[in-house]
Protein backbone atom coordinates (compact mmCIF):
# COMPACT_ATOMS: atom_id res chain seq x y z
CA UNK A 1 0.00 0.00 0.00
CA UNK A 2 2.77 2.40 1.05
CA UNK A 3 4.68 1.69 -2.15
CA UNK A 4 1.59 1.96 -4.35
CA UNK A 5 0.72 5.42 -2.96
CA UNK A 6 4.25 6.66 -3.63
CA UNK A 7 4.20 5.28 -7.16
CA UNK A 8 0.85 6.98 -7.85
CA UNK A 9 2.24 10.27 -6.44
CA UNK A 10 5.28 10.01 -8.72
CA UNK A 11 3.16 9.20 -11.77
CA UNK A 12 0.87 12.14 -10.95
CA UNK A 13 3.76 14.63 -10.81
CA UNK A 14 5.50 13.30 -13.91
CA UNK A 15 2.24 13.00 -15.88
CA UNK A 16 1.02 16.48 -14.93
CA UNK A 17 4.39 18.08 -15.73
CA UNK A 18 4.62 16.25 -19.07
CA UNK A 19 1.05 17.31 -19.98
CA UNK A 20 1.76 20.92 -18.96
CA UNK A 21 4.98 20.98 -21.02
CA UNK A 22 3.33 19.30 -24.01
CA UNK A 23 0.53 21.88 -24.10
CA UNK A 24 2.88 24.84 -24.25
CA UNK A 25 4.24 25.22 -20.69
CA UNK A 26 1.80 28.05 -19.93
CA UNK A 27 3.20 30.04 -17.00
CA UNK A 28 -0.09 31.85 -16.42
CA UNK A 29 -3.38 30.55 -15.05
CA UNK A 30 -5.15 27.58 -16.65
CA UNK A 31 -7.15 28.57 -19.72
CA UNK A 32 -10.33 26.97 -20.99
CA UNK A 33 -10.59 29.27 -24.01
CA UNK A 34 -7.95 30.63 -26.35
CA UNK A 35 -8.29 33.60 -28.71
CA UNK A 36 -7.95 33.06 -32.42
CA UNK A 37 -7.46 36.04 -34.72
CA UNK A 38 -9.71 36.27 -37.75
CA UNK A 39 -9.43 38.87 -40.48
CA UNK A 40 -12.33 40.45 -42.31
CA UNK A 41 -11.24 40.64 -45.94
CA UNK A 42 -13.61 43.50 -46.80
CA UNK A 43 -12.39 45.90 -44.11
CA UNK A 44 -9.04 44.47 -43.02
CA UNK A 45 -10.30 44.44 -39.43
CA UNK A 46 -8.88 41.80 -37.12
CA UNK A 47 -11.45 40.12 -34.92
CA UNK A 48 -11.08 37.60 -32.14
CA UNK A 49 -12.88 34.27 -31.95
CA UNK A 50 -12.68 32.38 -28.67
CA UNK A 51 -12.15 28.66 -29.08
CA UNK A 52 -12.65 26.10 -26.35
CA UNK A 53 -9.28 24.60 -25.49
CA UNK A 54 -7.81 23.41 -22.20
CA UNK A 55 -4.36 24.85 -21.59
CA UNK A 56 -3.04 23.91 -18.15
CA UNK A 57 -1.27 26.62 -16.19
CA UNK A 58 0.75 26.88 -13.01
CA UNK A 59 -2.39 26.30 -10.90
CA UNK A 60 -2.76 22.91 -12.62
CA UNK A 61 0.85 22.05 -11.72
CA UNK A 62 0.25 23.26 -8.16
CA UNK A 63 -2.85 21.07 -7.82
CA UNK A 64 -0.91 18.05 -9.10
CA UNK A 65 1.92 18.78 -6.66
CA UNK A 66 -0.54 19.11 -3.80
CA UNK A 67 -2.22 15.84 -4.77
CA UNK A 68 1.12 14.08 -4.92
CA UNK A 69 2.06 15.55 -1.53
CA UNK A 70 -1.16 14.26 0.04
CA UNK A 71 -0.60 10.79 -1.42
CA UNK A 72 3.00 10.75 -0.16
CA UNK A 73 1.80 11.86 3.29
CA UNK A 74 -0.79 9.07 3.34
CA UNK A 75 1.92 6.59 2.43
CA UNK A 76 3.74 7.44 5.67
CA UNK A 77 0.57 6.87 7.68
CA UNK A 78 -0.21 3.49 6.16
CA UNK A 79 1.27 0.43 7.84
CA UNK A 80 3.76 -1.72 6.00
CA UNK A 81 2.61 -5.31 5.37
CA UNK A 82 4.70 -7.61 7.56
CA UNK A 83 6.23 -10.79 6.10
CA UNK A 84 7.60 -11.96 9.41
CA UNK A 85 5.86 -15.27 10.34
CA UNK A 86 6.79 -14.78 13.98
CA UNK A 87 4.71 -11.65 14.19
CA UNK A 88 1.82 -13.41 12.45
CA UNK A 89 1.94 -16.15 15.13
CA UNK A 90 1.87 -13.59 17.90
CA UNK A 91 -1.26 -12.06 16.38
Amino acid sequence: MKRALRIIAGVLIIGATAFWAATGANRGWTKTHVPKKITDEATGLEGIQWQEKFVPGVDFLGAALLGAGVLTGLSFLSRAKSNNPAIKTEQ
Binding site: G28, T32, H33, I38, T43, G44, L45, E46, I48
Partner: protein
Protein backbone atom coordinates in the same frame (compact mmCIF):
# COMPACT_ATOMS: atom_id res chain seq x y z
CA UNK B 1 -34.22 80.68 -68.06
CA UNK B 2 -36.80 78.52 -66.32
CA UNK B 3 -35.08 75.36 -67.54
CA UNK B 4 -31.70 76.62 -66.26
CA UNK B 5 -33.18 77.41 -62.87
CA UNK B 6 -34.80 73.94 -62.64
CA UNK B 7 -31.52 72.29 -63.62
CA UNK B 8 -29.58 74.27 -61.00
CA UNK B 9 -32.15 73.44 -58.35
CA UNK B 10 -31.94 69.75 -59.29
CA UNK B 11 -28.13 69.76 -59.11
CA UNK B 12 -28.26 71.52 -55.74
CA UNK B 13 -30.77 69.00 -54.40
CA UNK B 14 -28.77 66.06 -55.75
CA UNK B 15 -25.60 67.50 -54.21
CA UNK B 16 -27.33 67.92 -50.87
CA UNK B 17 -28.65 64.38 -51.05
CA UNK B 18 -25.19 62.99 -51.85
CA UNK B 19 -23.57 64.93 -49.02
CA UNK B 20 -26.29 64.02 -46.53
CA UNK B 21 -25.03 62.37 -43.37
CA UNK B 22 -25.42 58.61 -43.26
CA UNK B 23 -26.18 56.51 -40.22
CA UNK B 24 -23.99 53.45 -39.72
CA UNK B 25 -25.21 50.56 -37.58
CA UNK B 26 -22.43 48.80 -35.66
CA UNK B 27 -24.27 45.60 -34.84
CA UNK B 28 -22.06 43.13 -36.68
CA UNK B 29 -23.60 39.97 -38.15
CA UNK B 30 -20.12 38.58 -38.85
CA UNK B 31 -18.92 38.87 -35.26
CA UNK B 32 -15.66 40.57 -36.25
CA UNK B 33 -16.26 43.83 -34.38
CA UNK B 34 -14.43 43.71 -31.10
CA UNK B 35 -12.98 45.72 -28.27
CA UNK B 36 -9.77 44.36 -26.82
CA UNK B 37 -8.59 45.19 -23.33
CA UNK B 38 -5.25 44.70 -21.64
CA UNK B 39 -4.18 45.16 -18.05
CA UNK B 40 -0.46 44.81 -17.45
CA UNK B 41 0.17 44.64 -13.70
CA UNK B 42 3.59 43.83 -12.18
CA UNK B 43 2.49 40.31 -11.15
CA UNK B 44 -0.10 39.49 -13.75
CA UNK B 45 -1.15 40.42 -17.28
CA UNK B 46 -4.79 40.16 -18.25
CA UNK B 47 -5.81 40.10 -21.91
CA UNK B 48 -9.38 39.86 -23.10
CA UNK B 49 -11.91 41.08 -25.58
CA UNK B 50 -15.56 41.96 -25.93
CA UNK B 51 -17.74 41.12 -28.89
CA UNK B 52 -21.19 42.39 -27.93
CA UNK B 53 -20.89 45.69 -29.78
CA UNK B 54 -23.77 47.84 -30.97
CA UNK B 55 -24.54 51.50 -31.56
CA UNK B 56 -24.89 53.97 -34.37
CA UNK B 57 -22.70 56.68 -35.85
CA UNK B 58 -23.83 59.46 -38.13
CA UNK B 59 -21.11 60.27 -40.62
CA UNK B 60 -21.02 62.71 -43.48
CA UNK B 61 -18.19 61.98 -45.95
CA UNK B 62 -18.19 65.67 -46.86
CA UNK B 63 -17.90 66.87 -43.25
CA UNK B 64 -16.13 64.11 -41.25
CA UNK B 65 -15.64 66.50 -38.34
CA UNK B 66 -19.41 66.59 -37.79
CA UNK B 67 -19.53 62.87 -36.97
CA UNK B 68 -21.66 61.96 -33.99
CA UNK B 69 -22.53 58.66 -32.44
CA UNK B 70 -22.59 56.21 -29.61
CA UNK B 71 -20.89 52.83 -29.32
CA UNK B 72 -22.12 50.34 -26.73
CA UNK B 73 -20.39 47.21 -25.45
CA UNK B 74 -22.41 44.57 -23.58
CA UNK B 75 -20.57 44.03 -20.28
CA UNK B 76 -21.49 40.33 -20.24
CA UNK B 77 -19.68 39.85 -23.56
CA UNK B 78 -16.28 40.58 -21.97
CA UNK B 79 -14.24 37.42 -22.29
CA UNK B 80 -11.07 36.13 -20.61
CA UNK B 81 -9.23 32.84 -21.18
CA UNK B 82 -9.58 31.77 -17.53
CA UNK B 83 -13.18 31.03 -16.43
CA UNK B 84 -12.59 31.99 -12.79
CA UNK B 85 -11.03 35.33 -13.77
CA UNK B 86 -13.99 36.00 -16.05
CA UNK B 87 -16.43 35.17 -13.27
CA UNK B 88 -14.62 37.54 -10.90
CA UNK B 89 -14.44 40.29 -13.52
CA UNK B 90 -18.21 40.22 -14.15
CA UNK B 91 -19.13 39.83 -10.48
CA UNK B 92 -20.39 42.62 -8.22
CA UNK B 93 -16.85 42.92 -6.80
CA UNK B 94 -15.55 44.29 -10.11
CA UNK B 95 -17.70 45.29 -13.11
CA UNK B 96 -21.07 44.16 -11.71
CA UNK B 97 -22.38 43.14 -15.13
CA UNK B 98 -25.84 42.37 -13.75
CA UNK B 99 -26.33 45.92 -12.47
CA UNK B 100 -24.36 47.70 -15.20
CA UNK B 101 -25.00 45.72 -18.40
CA UNK B 102 -23.51 48.32 -20.77
CA UNK B 103 -20.24 50.16 -21.28
CA UNK B 104 -20.60 53.07 -23.68
CA UNK B 105 -18.91 55.99 -25.36
CA UNK B 106 -20.87 58.87 -26.85
CA UNK B 107 -19.03 61.44 -28.93
CA UNK B 108 -19.50 65.16 -28.35
CA UNK B 109 -16.82 66.88 -30.38
CA UNK B 110 -14.23 66.10 -33.04
CA UNK B 111 -10.96 68.04 -32.89
CA UNK B 112 -7.72 67.97 -34.92
CA UNK B 113 -9.64 66.52 -37.86
CA UNK B 114 -7.42 65.49 -40.76
CA UNK B 115 -8.78 63.84 -43.87
CA UNK B 116 -6.76 62.16 -46.60
CA UNK B 117 -8.84 60.36 -49.20
CA UNK B 118 -11.34 58.16 -47.42
CA UNK B 119 -9.46 58.19 -44.13
CA UNK B 120 -10.02 60.68 -41.35
CA UNK B 121 -8.10 60.95 -38.10
CA UNK B 122 -9.30 63.03 -35.19
CA UNK B 123 -9.33 63.41 -31.44
CA UNK B 124 -12.84 62.72 -30.25
CA UNK B 125 -14.07 64.04 -26.94
CA UNK B 126 -17.05 62.28 -25.46
CA UNK B 127 -18.63 60.63 -22.47
CA UNK B 128 -17.36 57.21 -21.45
CA UNK B 129 -19.65 55.31 -19.07
CA UNK B 130 -18.32 52.32 -17.16
CA UNK B 131 -19.94 50.75 -14.11
CA UNK B 132 -22.43 53.61 -14.01
CA UNK B 133 -19.71 56.27 -13.77
CA UNK B 134 -19.58 58.91 -16.53
CA UNK B 135 -16.31 60.56 -17.42
CA UNK B 136 -15.35 62.84 -20.27
CA UNK B 137 -12.37 61.50 -22.17
CA UNK B 138 -10.59 62.26 -25.43
CA UNK B 139 -9.82 59.39 -27.76
CA UNK B 140 -7.72 59.42 -30.95
CA UNK B 141 -9.71 57.71 -33.70
CA UNK B 142 -9.22 56.70 -37.30
CA UNK B 143 -12.30 56.55 -39.53
CA UNK B 144 -12.24 54.87 -42.91
CA UNK B 145 -15.19 55.45 -45.19
CA UNK B 146 -15.67 52.58 -47.64
CA UNK B 147 -18.21 53.56 -50.26
CA UNK B 148 -20.26 50.73 -51.81
CA UNK B 149 -18.27 48.06 -49.93
CA UNK B 150 -21.06 46.64 -47.79
CA UNK B 151 -21.72 43.92 -50.37
CA UNK B 152 -18.19 42.60 -49.86
CA UNK B 153 -18.89 42.13 -46.17
CA UNK B 154 -22.55 41.12 -46.22
CA UNK B 155 -23.49 39.42 -49.48
CA UNK B 156 -26.66 40.63 -51.26
CA UNK B 157 -26.59 43.99 -49.46
CA UNK B 158 -25.75 47.29 -51.06
CA UNK B 159 -24.40 50.20 -49.09
CA UNK B 160 -21.37 51.74 -47.44
CA UNK B 161 -19.10 50.77 -44.58
CA UNK B 162 -17.47 52.90 -41.92
CA UNK B 163 -14.48 51.41 -40.12
CA UNK B 164 -13.48 52.88 -36.77
CA UNK B 165 -10.18 52.12 -35.09
CA UNK B 166 -9.20 53.57 -31.74
CA UNK B 167 -6.68 52.87 -29.00
CA UNK B 168 -6.81 54.59 -25.65
CA UNK B 169 -6.20 54.04 -21.95
CA UNK B 170 -8.54 54.53 -19.01
CA UNK B 171 -7.99 54.04 -15.30
CA UNK B 172 -10.29 51.65 -13.47
CA UNK B 173 -9.93 53.75 -10.33
CA UNK B 174 -11.66 56.64 -12.14
CA UNK B 175 -14.72 54.41 -12.62
CA UNK B 176 -14.97 53.19 -9.04
CA UNK B 177 -13.63 49.72 -9.84
CA UNK B 178 -11.76 48.86 -6.63
CA UNK B 179 -9.72 52.09 -6.73
CA UNK B 180 -6.23 51.69 -5.27
CA UNK B 181 -6.71 47.98 -4.56
CA UNK B 182 -4.99 44.86 -5.95
CA UNK B 183 -2.86 46.99 -8.29
CA UNK B 184 0.02 44.49 -8.17
CA UNK B 185 -2.23 41.92 -9.88
CA UNK B 186 -4.88 44.02 -11.63
CA UNK B 187 -3.41 47.10 -13.24
CA UNK B 188 -5.13 50.44 -12.72
CA UNK B 189 -4.52 51.31 -16.37
CA UNK B 190 -6.71 49.52 -18.91
CA UNK B 191 -5.57 49.68 -22.52
CA UNK B 192 -8.55 49.51 -24.85
CA UNK B 193 -8.39 48.81 -28.58
CA UNK B 194 -11.51 49.24 -30.67
CA UNK B 195 -11.77 47.72 -34.17
CA UNK B 196 -15.28 48.00 -35.54
CA UNK B 197 -17.14 48.40 -38.82
CA UNK B 198 -20.61 49.83 -39.26
CA UNK B 199 -22.99 49.36 -42.14
CA UNK B 200 -25.20 51.87 -43.91
CA UNK B 201 -27.43 49.92 -46.32
CA UNK B 202 -28.96 51.69 -49.31
Amino acid sequence: MKTKFTLLAFIALAGAALAAPQTFDFKDPKGINNAGFKLDAPLEAINGSASGISGAVTFDPGIPGATKGKIIVATASLMLPNPMQKQHMLSDKWLDAAKYPEISFESKEFKKVQTAGDTTTADVTGTFILKGVSKEITVPVKLTYMKDKLGQRVPDQKGDLLVIRASFTIKRGDFNINPGQFEDKVSDAIEITLSIAGASPK
